[in-house]
Symmetry: C2
DNA sequence: TGTGCGTATGTCAGATCAGACATAGAATGG
DNA sequence: CCATTCTATGTCTGATCTGACATACGCACA
């Protein structure tokens, strides 16, 4: 469970030390990452629900396929600004976003 | 009501055209601004609840007074990343953030 | 009036993020 | 096996954000 989540974080480019357990992340960093993962996940589900490929979605967002892939991976090079703007462009409301935060966040809480 | 909200946005540096009514903002832009205003407001209330000045809070956040002022004004030079990280550093949880979004967002909805 | 304290605004150099492109990997169908 | 299609990763250049500093504003209260 923890190992799997750690893998997910590392794939997202968080470069958590090999020796250093990812619990080195401070509470606020963990929460921030939680939020990003929740938004990223919501974005992917929304795209799939719309039956779009990453490229199609990139067009719709005025972005590129590679950036969409990174958004969905919650890569550290994507900001929450980008995630939020993308969600909103796909029709999400602030309430939808709030729901993502409450239902998805803290999945890998220590 | 609308005029007041517009003033708030302009103070925040959104430079909405004089002629162009702020309704020119697209739906997703409005939602994004809503979210920023909600987070900014939550941050200010949290600071006041803690009885901190902007300078004291800046120290705690590792930032500067001017930046805190801009955060609270939801100035366009501050990202939601910064707002979220700041809220979390002050002890907020993702659920708290979600609450901010549902109770505060869409205040000036058309 | 002027002094002090808190807040707001303008600007800048360095840091981070954006979209784009190339390319690699994974999965499916022939 | 090879194509095709979709997704993932690395890297570049220009754009945006960050903390800091200076300075202005607002409001008390002597």
């Amino acid at each position: 469970m923890r190992a799997e989540k750690r893998r997910q974080l590392e794939r997202a480019g968080w470069a958590i030390g090999d020796a250093g357990d990812f619990l080195e992340l401070s509470a606020e960093e963990r929460r921030f990452v939680d939020v990003k993962l929740a938004l990223a996940d919501g974005l992917r589900r929304r795209r799939e629900r719309l039956g779009l490929t990453q490229s199609a979605m990139a067009d719709r967002l005025g972005s590129s396929q590679s950036r969409v892939a990174k958004m969905e991976a919650a890569h550290r090079s994507v900001s929450t600004d980008l995630l939020l703007k993308s969600l909103f462009r796909l029709g999400a409301s602030p309430a939808d976003v709030a729901r993502l935060l409450t239902t998805k966040a803290r999945t890998y809480a220590a």
